[in-house]
Symmetry: C2
Subunit: 193 residues, 2 copies
Amino acid sequence: MARLQEYNKEEVLKAATEVYWAKGYHGTSMQDLVEATGLNRSSIYNSFDSKLNLYLQTLKFYQKESGSLFQKALLKANNPLEAVQFIFEIFLPIIANEGLNKGCYVMSCKTELGKQEGKIQDWLLNNQENSINIFRDLVLEGQKLGNINTKQSADSYAYYLFSAFQGFRMTGILINDKLVLKEIIKNTIEVIK
Amino acid sequence: MARLQEYNKEEVLKAATEVYWAKGYHGTSMQDLVEATGLNRSSIYNSFDSKLNLYLQTLKFYQKESGSLFQKALLKANNPLEAVQFIFEIFLPIIANEGLNKGCYVMSCKTELGKQEGKIQDWLLNNQENSINIFRDLVLEGQKLGNINTKQSADSYAYYLFSAFQGFRMTGILINDKLVLKEIIKNTIEVIK
DNA sequence: TCACATTTGGAACGAACATTCCAAAATAAA
DNA sequence: TTTATTTTGGAATGTTCGTTCCAAATGTGA
């Protein structure tokens, strides 16, 4: 019926994510995206409507990718407490990757657009809910198994871990020392032990 | 000898900080700054050289302001442990100020420019060092008084608290529920008790 | 092979961008 | 009052911005 798309949407989103991640939303120009994706301007607008919508698509793409990273941590763990620890530790090599460390995509998004763009905020809230749910489920299961203490509710610990995780990602922007980061994780986990 | 400046530099920096804070560095245009400060373009360039340098000046201005906020917490406290708690709690009313909550200026700066602009990164590193020092001193004193446990070194706890504080500020961007935030503080403090 | 629907390339759009320039205004010392 | 020095106002700089437009290219179903 019609001409086919010549590019792979996943690859384009991956390339776009890289640019947005490195330069931020406002710091990224359409020209940057044209060069990074190899697509023509028209094709970008034809497929993604606008700079903002493309950004939103990269967020959803990123969510899938980082979600599988979380799954990897969960599978590797022998118990819920270890799972929480692994969720933090899985980012150690990424953070320590000196020079190439671009910080956390979600943190950048949150500080830059979290309070301004409605659709972005919706995504952030959904992403937040997901993260807290993961932590809550782990804590709940850990408390059932006696692996995690019951001094506070699973809800309370879930919010705490969510907050600590964000701090961990922020700290990793300028501190790449694995020993220091491991120490932070150890202290963080101590509360729920 | 020459014509006098008609404006107050502190007031200009305050106004500029407001804009940068609300819109981010790249999201702020020189036109925004002209309108917010009431200064003429020429005057801005005459006094601050460039958009980036003006931004750097607002960071230093902010550091002074937030420093006095920290001092307020320290003075109010009866002991080091309480001081740590107050440092967190002093931001509760600011975060809960629904609608007007613009997040943390330093977090925004870190995610947007922390890895790109050398001079900004220098400031961030200095600011980071200051914060960690404050926490370290408090922990050290608390450990001496027996108020804070000695299971880990003051250094280890300082980094932990620094990281947790950043997470707290990030969480406060989208979560304004005081009860939830207080719960996070309580769990955070529990480690060093 | 034709007709149709979509993608693609590349130029073009006006608006907004950070910065510069210069003459007019202002003031303090001479 | 003159001279020297700085600030101010506002226009103008050239560049880059996000987005649009349209003709050419393409591939599928008829």
